[in-house]
């Protein structure tokens, strides 16, 4: 379809704001644009149709199962959108006096209290805008802690080989050297290897639990204790919190600080790639270093201040609070029993789907999967030439969004499924059947799978060409 710029015609406009009746202000020529702005000119009708066309060329949770592993693409309740659209929440300047934002502070305080309870932590900040941003805050908190203790020889952060790429990238961004530890045969951290790298130069261990294989580490208490004994702290990557919500708490597992992806676990819409909220929770030993606002209550009402030894802000204001408000509405809805129901049904759904697939597909780490599981198409590739990518693209031809592919890195030809608790048995059955049929087709008609998708919006794109000769902006008159 055409870009919006190709639909732009000089002279078209939308009459949005009134004519300004005050005298025009002119600036000296050296301060103004030498080339006049040329953005685009389009009528409201054409604009509405353009975006409708774009919307038709997109796929959301509202269209069907979206089993992206570690992304927790669950249903986004409608009421939370209405909450976030309340005028008393949207039309509030971030630098109004505290006495005029009591409602906002109260909502955030409710969120802090719920999150402290489900994580087993002592304090929460909403300033981090996304999971990676939360990781950044968390590792910086650990750095502040060691610095304050005069422990400045700790230069390493340990990350398992099954970790998300953000973990090592975060550690490096905080000035740390990354040490990778391998997984054991069951998919957990290899404790023996861990003990070899622990020492007085280790600042922290970053761990996702359940990990990206969907497996909860059976040695989790031993692992956090080992790190603490070496003087390091433990960081919990909350990407997979959905699996244990209301069942077990990172704080009780021995973790000192964690981030949550409120957009995942607490179901705020993913927005085509954000905005999310990467709220961070920590134990008392780290609380004083937190970024963002410290909300307290006195006789006058709610107050907003800074933490005593704050590491400094990592965002302009207090975080993606309108995203947090949606998540907090969801927490209120869930309550005590709803939290548990989320985890139980997420784990049940994943295990059910895994059971339907495991006879035909190879699942290398099959024991103790919780909310997600990882298929390896390595055997299929050897036998038929069909790759994880071919399977994913064939799913598109069957009208289903593919899972996460080629991750985690420790599984070859990986397909990582996380159905979430909001999928029905009917859709789990249907998608599993599609996958079983695809596997059969791998033997009978591999060419069809290599050529998939045929029914997508496009065929497979030339990604290598895109990176080699990047075209990142539309240029008039340019023909590819």
């Amino acid at each position: 379809m055409k870009t919006i710029f190709e639909k732009s015609v000089q002279g078209k406009y939308q009459d949005i704001i009134p004519k300004c009746t005050l005298p025009e202000v002119t600036f000296p020529q050296e301060l103004t644009r030498s080339a006049a702005l040329e953005l685009l000119e389009i009528s409201e009708t054409e604009m509405s149709r353009h975006y409708n066309q774009l919307a038709q060329r997109a796929y959301g949770v509202s269209d069907g199962m979206y089993p992206l592993g570690s992304c927790t693409m669950k249903y986004n309740p409608a009421v939370n959108e209405e909450v976030a659209a309340l005028k008393g929440l949207t039309d509030i300047h971030p630098q109004q006096p505290a006495s005029t934002v009591q409602g906002w502070l109260r909502i955030l305080k409710i969120g802090e209290d719920y999150l402290k309870e489900v994580t087993g932590m002592d304090a929460v900040t909403f300033q981090p805008a996304a999971g990676a941003h939360g990781e950044y805050a968390g590792i910086r908190l650990i750095r502040e802690y060691h610095m304050k203790n005069g422990d400045d020889k700790r230069t390493k952060v340990i990350v398992p080989d099954s970790a998300h790429g953000t973990n090592p990238a975060t550690a490096a961004m905080c000035g740390y050297e990354v040490v990778s530890v391998p997984s054991d045969s069951e998919g957990g951290v290899d404790v023996e290897e861990l003990s070899k790298v622990l020492g007085n130069d280790v600042a922290a261990l970053m761990l996702t639990n359940p990990n990206t294989l969907g497996i909860s580490d059976k040695n989790i208490l031993e692992i956090t204790e080992m790190v603490h004994e070496a003087g390091g702290l433990c960081y919990y990557d909350g990407a997979n919190l959905n699996a244990i919500l209301g069942i077990a708490r990172p704080g009780d597992m021995g973790f000192d600080v964690m981030h949550m992806n409120l957009h995942k676990t607490f179901s705020t819409p993913h927005g085509g790639g954000g905005p999310g909220s990467g709220a961070v929770a920590c134990k008392n030993i780290l609380k004083g270093f937190l970024p963002g606002i410290k909300i307290e209550e006195d006789e006058e009402g709610m107050t907003m201040g800074l933490y005593e030894e704050t590491m400094g802000p990592i965002g302009l204001y207090y975080g993606n609070v309108a995203v947090a408000a949606r998540a907090i509405a969801y927490m209120l809805t869930l309550g005590k029993e709803g939290m548990v129901a989320v985890a139980k049904n997420a784990v049940l759904n994943a295990n059910y789907m895994k059971t339907l697939l495991e006879k035909d597909y190879h699942i290398p780490y099959n024991e103790g999967c919780m909310h997600e599981f990882v298929i390896s198409a390595e055997d299929l590739k050897k036998e038929t030439g069909i790759t994880a990518m071919d399977i994913a693209k064939s799913m598109i031809d069957n009208g289903v969004h593919p899972p996460t592919v080629y991750f985690p890195l420790i599984v070859h030809e990986a397909l990582m499924f996380e159905p979430t608790e909001t999928e029905t048995k009917e859709s789990l059955d249907r998608v599993s059947q599609i996958l079983l049929d695809i596997r059969k087709e791998a033997y009978t008609d591999p060419q069809k799978l290599h050529e998939a998708p045929r029914k997508g919006q496009i065929r497979r794109p030339d990604e290598v060409g895109a990176a080699r000769n990047p075209i990142l902006v539309f240029e008039d008159g340019k023909d590819l």
Partner: protein
């Protein structure tokens, strides 16, 4: 209780049977017994939709929505066209995720590609990324693009938004990059003489971060700064207010290497500070250093036009600890909003908003001067400016703000006892401006009696 679980108990039993389990609890066997919450979390029971809505409505009612707002300082009240709200409210735009599967996500990818193009047209730069968290982290990521092993000192003008400066300092501190503040002249501008001397003294000079307009609303004299910075083989990172770029000389025209800014004025509600939108654009030679997602145009297997996430070799999921930043998905829906806003306003509409902003801010400054506050008439400003209460007056900023508050007006932001930072946009009317001026005049007059 609402957990949005669609399954029935009967279905759960069937599923358990298929799995070969008697209870769901068996599936949690991997969690050590001693850390399980046997009683569940200590939380209130789940609430119905109606109860949740009423709790949130009540809380929203405890926030004060000012009828009139003359406060900016980083977040601005603008008119948001109805078509923008309508478009970004489409369910699929909300519930899609990062377009990892291009064959199912052409609409999302194209919207980002169009946004990138609009940001480039607005800033005069060559390439844009798909967004970062906000204007402050955009500045931080922008300066970190400019460091290398030998160049690890970042200069920050003392005239930039102190909130942005603090974030840049946090990020630099994390990577052991030194930050140095360039002094401010008496009239609130970057001290260019000092800058020149400081750059000459510093062999590790990596870049200068300066904002246009600066925190005090003043339009800086960027030309000489560009010469100094590039003369010392450093990079120029400019923080820009997007509406002003419809009128003011662009970072591209100044020769900046990186342009960043807060995209909130482009159709995003104030929402107590977020979610907002950090935009980042660069010259072509800095393209591979830009962090975050980028969308590129290519062809599919049939030779048709296609969009994909591209240049991913820069990113954390490929490079892990060697990536320049840990950023992954962030504010796509906010970028969609900004794109729709710019489309609705169009070239002329953007200029018109900028025209309102300057005309109204200048009218407000004139009226407040008449009312007895001091302003600096010699420095050019866009839509924000600082007033001072004259030496010797017994009136304080809080007196003025209190009097305005009684008229349902959020006045300028207090910078110190005597200084207020004011802002005007197209939503402010002449009448509102006169009300503010009259109120201030009354205060100042009373004090003089």
């Amino acid at each position: 209780m609402g957990s949005y679980v669609p399954g029935t108990e009967k279905e759960r039993q069937e599923m358990l049977q298929t799995i070969g389990c008697n209870t769901v609890e068996e599936l949690f066997a991997g969690l050590p017994e001693q850390i399980r919450l046997s009683e569940g979390p200590d939380l209130p029971e789940g609430k119905s939709e109606q109860e949740v809505m009423s709790i949130m409505e009540e809380a929203a009612g405890e926030n004060r929505v000012y009828k009139t707002c003359f406060r900016g300082a980083g977040a601005y009240r603008h008119y948001i066209p109805a078509i923008v709200r309508s478009i970004v409210g489409k369910e699929v735009f909300k519930t899609a995720y990062t377009p990892y599967q291009p064959e199912l996500s052409q609409g999302i990818l194209q919207s980002i590609f169009e946004y990138q193009t609009m940001i480039c047209r607005l800033t005069g730069m060559d390439v844009s990324n798909a967004s970062v968290y906000d204007g402050a982290t955009a500045a931080a990521e922008g300066v970190l693009m400019c460091k290398d092993r030998k160049k690890d000192v970042v200069f920050i003008s003392g005239t930039v938004d102190p909130k942005v400066k603090a974030v840049v300092e946090t990020y630099c501190d994390g990577q052991n990059v030194k930050t140095v503040t360039v002094p401010v002249t008496g009239n609130g501008m970057t001290d260019i003489h000092e800058l020149k001397e400081m750059v000459e003294r510093e062999s590790g000079f990596a870049c200068l971060y300066v904002e246009q307009p600066n925190y005090f609303g003043i339009i800086e004299n960027i030309g000489p700064m560009e010469e100094i910075v590039h003369g010392a083989k450093g990079k120029l990172v400019m923080g820009c207010e997007p509406v002003s770029l419809a009128m003011l000389k662009t970072p591209g025209e100044y020769g900046a290497d990186v342009a960043v800014g807060e995209g909130q004025p482009l159709g995003l509600p104030l929402s107590f500070g977020g979610p907002y939108l950090g935009f980042m654009a660069a010259k072509k030679d800095m393209m591979r250093k830009l962090p975050g997602r980028m969308v590129g145009e290519t062809k599919d297997a049939d030779g048709n036009k296609a969009y994909v996430l591209t240049l991913q070799a820069r990113e954390q999921h490929i490079r892990r600890e060697k990536a320049g930043s840990n950023i992954c998905s962030n504010q796509a829906h906010c970028a969609l909003t900004a794109g729709a806003y710019m489309a609705a306003m169009g070239t002329e509409g953007m200029k018109k908003v900028a025209g309102h902003c300057t005309a109204k801010a200048h009218y407000l400054a004139e009226k407040l001067t008449e009312a007895g506050l001091e302003t600096d008439a010699d420095t050019p400003f866009f839509n924000e400016f600082v007033t001072k209460i004259p030496e010797g007056s017994s009136v304080t900023c809080s007196d003025i703000l209190k009097a305005l508050d009684e008229k349902d007006i959020l006045g300028g932001l207090e910078l110190d006892d005597r200084s207020l930072l004011w802002c005007a946009t197209e939503v402010n009317t002449e009448e509102e401006i006169r009300t503010v001026a009259d109120t201030v005049k009354q205060m100042m007059g009373k004090a003089g009696e």
